[in-house]
Amino acid sequence: MSEISEEQVAHLANLARIALTPEEISSLTTELDQIVDSIAKVQEVATPDVPATSHPVPLSNVFRPDVVGETLTIEQALQNAPEQADNRFKVSAILGEEQ
């Protein structure tokens, strides 16, 4: 058993910035435990002599000429923003009261 705990799932949810409800944390704990049990079998064959593959078709450095490319206008960049002000994205307070 991989033994994933509710505390662990709550911690992961915080890292992933998802405000899961207690019910979601509880059901995800059960599901993740089952999923991790089934996928942990990769360790059976992943011996130290096997190199890792991160990309299916090996490519070496891909460069382009260092010239200004096509860019979005400010209007285009902001057109989907939930909130904007003075040609910038507007966000909520960065620091909370305790900070």
């Binding site: 991790v36 996928i39 011996t47």
Partner: protein, 503 residues
């Protein structure tokens, strides 16, 4: 003349070029069809209001004597994972509801330049996570063969759209089978090209090392025609290959003439047949392999011992990549923003937004990916999965030393019923056992319809896989299989799909 909506894109192209049918006629016929049947099928999330104007401009250009490409004037359905400037792009998620992209995905741009007419955006599992479209935030698409069953996923909308004659051509994306498995369950054709052959620019990323855009059609030739339009190097995608490709349409035409089956070495993957495969899927598959043998192909059983680890590796690599790709949905630059009760800091707003905007499968995979990448677990899970990826590539290399193509059933079962696998994520994940290895290795794969399973009368497909960059081989073999079977049946498979009542 055949009904416009039932024509293949290749036939429609001939009629458009001769002037018997205008692009406006072709577009209107498909818009009418969508209006008539999409309440039942729900393949589309958006229908274009510009399509008729675009069609009119194509007709004007043709009338002015301009030389247009073979697909000019043909309607195209576009999976909602691909961004478009004229219709919203949501990737099946609430978090992107109403999102209007300031640019077109490269494949959409190339399609427009070729004169294709985007008529709508197709439904999909949220962010392409799923095998049934049941994870779409906008409700599932229904399989035109049986409205109580899934159309496959994640690209169930694109497959159902072509199967229901709502569009002759569609674009899909395939991360672990999202083009090929829907093709299998809807009696249509789907191709996942070699990784990098088609640009991913403007395809809302799920797992960047696995995603590939490809054609969804009713015939192999039509897939080849669309493939020829979209397979081009794109400087906007650093993983885009610079290869010059042979014409896939030509490969399909040559295959349909029966060229190349004699002496072709066909490998049957021992680990991807038999146990766990529905009897009717297995029997149709074996009959098709026997047909290839009768045409002079040499069938060899090959072993791919590490394929049994493919699903496990995939469900570590995909969530790991997805959890970082989806970090961009931060409620700042685009998408939904939800204020927690009583307000909050930007991080609290972000967490409340992602809680409200993501569905259960997306949350499950983000949490799983975050776990797989956590300090202390990284080597054991993500690192091991990357090693399995090497082992699977080696299995393919060894197999392709013996054979020209590999064949498998495209999926273990025919279309299942809604709800059947929803409560058991692992059962849903195992549905992709046949298609995942190709994504892990970056090789191309096609699914071609090979008949109906006797026990349930639902479509079955064969998957053909070839080495990297040998996409043309898929079209030759796929078209040969299609031609042989249609000759035997005396009709196409899709012509046997039940008529949709419509309204």
């Amino acid at each position: 003349m055949t009904d416009i909506i039932r024509m293949t894109a290749a036939d429609l192209s001939t009629h458009l070029q001769s002037g018997e049918i205008s692009a406006v006629d072709a577009t209107q016929a498909h818009l009418d069809r969508i209006e008539a049947v999409d309440t039942d099928v729900h393949a589309f999330l958006a229908v274009s209001s510009d399509a008729l104007d675009t069609a009119r401009r194509i007709d004007e250009r043709r009338a002015a004597g301009e030389k247009l490409g073979p697909l000019a004037g043909i309607p195209l359905a576009v999976k909602d994972v691909l961004v478009t400037t004229d219709m919203p792009s949501t990737s099946g998620s609430k978090i992107l509801e109403g999102y209007m992209s300031p640019f077109d995905a490269t494949v959409v741009r190339l399609s427009r330049e070729a004169g294709l007419i985007p008529i709508g955006k197709t439904n999909m599992d949220e962010f392409a996570m799923g095998s049934s479209t049941e994870h779409s935030a906008y409700g599932p698409t229904r399989n035109p063969w049986d409205l109580d069953r899934i159309p496959g996923g994640s690209g169930g909308g694109s497959a159902a759209a072509v199967a229901a004659f709502e569009a002759p051509l569609a674009l899909g994306s395939d991360t672990g089978g999202s083009i090929r498995q829907p093709a299998h369950v809807t009696g249509t054709v789907g191709v996942k090209p070699t990784y990098g052959a088609v640009s991913r620019y403007g395809a809302i990323a799920l797992a960047s090392s696995l995603d590939q855009v490809g054609p969804v059609t009713r015939t192999v030739l039509d897939a080849g025609l669309l493939h020829d339009v979209i397979a081009q190097h794109d400087p906007h995608d650093s993983t885009s290959l610079t290869d010059t490709w042979p014409s896939m349409a030509e490969a399909a035409r040559s295959g349909a003439r029966g060229d190349g089956l004699a002496g072709l070495k066909v490998g049957v993957v021992r680990e991807l047949s038999g146990d766990g495969f529905q009897a009717g899927v297995q029997s149709r598959f074996e009959e098709t392999v026997a047909l290839l043998t009768a045409q002079g192909a040499e069938v060899i059983e090959v072993s791919a011992p590490h394929f049994e680890y493919a699903v496990a590796a995939y469900y570590l690599i995909l969530p790991a990549e997805a959890s970082s790709n989806l970090a961009k949905f931060d409620s700042v630059r685009f998408g939904m923003r939800v204020q927690p009760d009583g307000g909050g800091t930007v991080e609290q707003v972000m967490a409340a937004t992602r809680e409200a905007g993501f569905g259960p499968e997306v949350k499950r995979r983000i949490i799983l990916g975050t776990y797989a990448l956590s300090a202390g677990y990284y080597d054991a899970y993500y690192g091991s999965a990357q090693k399995v990826r090497t082992l699977i590539q080696r299995d393919f290399t060894a197999a392709f030393e013996q054979v020209d193509v590999l064949v498998t059933p495209s999926a273990p079962t025919t279309a299942f019923k809604f709800g059947e696998k929803l409560a058991d994520p692992m059962a849903m994940y195992l549905n992709d056992i046949t298609t995942i290895p190709a994504n892990l290795a970056g090789i191309p794969g096609i699914s071609v319809p090979i008949g109906l399973a006797p026990e349930d009368g639902l479509p079955v497909g064969i998957q053909v896989m070839a080495p990297q960059r040998e996409d043309a081989r898929l079209y030759r073999v796929g078209a040969a299989i299609e031609a042989l079977l249609e000759q035997q049946w005396g009709h196409t498979l899709i012509s046997k799909a039940p008529a949709l009542g419509g309204k």
